[in-house]
Symmetry: C2
Subunit: 318 residues, 2 copies
Amino acid sequence: MPVTIKDVAKSAQVSIATVSRVINNKGYISQKTRKKVYQAMNQLHYTPNIAARKLQSKHTATIGVILPSLDNPLYSELFENVEKYLAVANYQTLLCTSNNQPEREQKYFSLLQANQVEGIITSSHSKFFIQQDLNNYPIICFDRSISKNIPSVRSNNYLGGQKIAKVIIHKNKKNILILSGSKEDLNPINDRIKGMLSIFQNVDTNVQTIALDFDSSLLVKKLLIQKILSTHHFDAICCTDDLTALLVLSFTKSQNHPPLITGYDGSTFVQTLFPDLLTVKQPIGPMAELMCDLLLAKIQNPQQNFETEYVFPISLTQ
Amino acid sequence: MPVTIKDVAKSAQVSIATVSRVINNKGYISQKTRKKVYQAMNQLHYTPNIAARKLQSKHTATIGVILPSLDNPLYSELFENVEKYLAVANYQTLLCTSNNQPEREQKYFSLLQANQVEGIITSSHSKFFIQQDLNNYPIICFDRSISKNIPSVRSNNYLGGQKIAKVIIHKNKKNILILSGSKEDLNPINDRIKGMLSIFQNVDTNVQTIALDFDSSLLVKKLLIQKILSTHHFDAICCTDDLTALLVLSFTKSQNHPPLITGYDGSTFVQTLFPDLLTVKQPIGPMAELMCDLLLAKIQNPQQNFETEYVFPISLTQ
DNA sequence: CTGAAAGCGCTAACAT
DNA sequence: ATGTTAGCGCTTTCAG
């Protein structure tokens, strides 16, 4: 049977109200009783019951995170940062991975609500959130646009696409494949592609665009890529994310005249293991920090107005 | 103001007890009232307050997971599997990443307790858990041994080490480096090394063992590896985990006569992206499943006795 | 500065 | 088959 505030109160010979006060550091308490209570707490190995606290106060000190998956180093790095920043603000994080399946998002959204999260950070693809009547429920999106009322944090995808394309042109590649990791439309990945195309179309190049299914497993994607590569040849393959680029590389690295492969994301993981990969670096840490700040601010004051988009600068590796 | 069971009861014109019954599908309820209640719930967009439920019953339907990090594909894959299996059993998962820092483990352990988790799955290095008086608190370890009372799930590390070593011998490598990702002692990584050595020592080879610091960042590890590689030359480098192997590969792959690099773990991620890497595959999915089963069983019956170790078979890639 | 008591939303006896 | 009621552990008025 776990020890409760009652046990502590009895042991310290004070009322439970007093114990609560010292735990939360609220109101006036004499040094003497404070010490007594602390002693009792330590002696009994007391841990406050968060469920009870949540029930009581509106401040549950927990926020929810919905991400497509953790396979992608971008998301795991993002999560680690979010968790870190929220912990500093004494918030606890609840993680759900949706695989971009709308039902799972739906389910997890309910789950998070049932857990009384004060707000949600999400990078989910589905339009589920749009339908919900939650315009004043604190939500921040990563790399997705849901509605004008929900702030979205992202990198400058268009510019990133342009920068990559310029390098490709500079290296004199002509036969180019743009390999998109997603077919989804509201996905900002499209801006990356648009950025690339805006550069390519002014130059004498042969550009083809193919979209994979974002939600399929690594293996499925790999098979698709293999099929594409076995029937076509390219001078350069511009992927809209690093994971896809790595997948392509797993085929081309052993070729005689491998095409130039480029990515997008720039997680520490990928950059450390593949320093040679030409890719666009997003400032993941700062983006995570801003999302936390925005969310916390929105929780503090739901009426406050925010920008619809917060766009971070990007840079190229190499 | 969120809608509560009270609102539903009023709207459906029944008592809150009845509503509770239909929510939990307990006791007898007529189809008519059941329908009424469901209608009211839907109409009001009712979501049960999990905090309240937790407070009330000992069954909180949530379990905690403490992992060193999510950087490592092994852990993110493990987590995804654990989450999946627990979801099937209608359990919710709380994830914490400790970076193997004992203070963080300590803190997270308290946090999980405060959240009334029914049990914990951990792969933490520190000896923190040993000191605690929690011999009957449901805990399952992944790849770690804490005490006889806490079941540990792992792969056959010794055999894995042996198998890898045999390949090395077979390929006639003489000058060998064993690169360990950890200095920690209770870590089963040592069994991997012992397995390798048991083979190497019977053959004419020159074996050196170096241990990196498991807890340091990817970048720090990378620097250390660079230093080692710049001053020595090896025919083969046997790493005790895939991440370390990948790090080594990031240096050696462009060399003229690169050494043979081997890993250990076999996450889907690494295998998909580096099908060529010679490594030991652990059955991550089944291991996750067993951990969940064991934990759930232990929660059901804390007195029940379990094995101290559950060792899974491994296989080599290629 | 401290205690008594109400109540957060829910479940589980106990009645009916 | 349904309602009444007593808590679960905690925070927070309101008294003193």
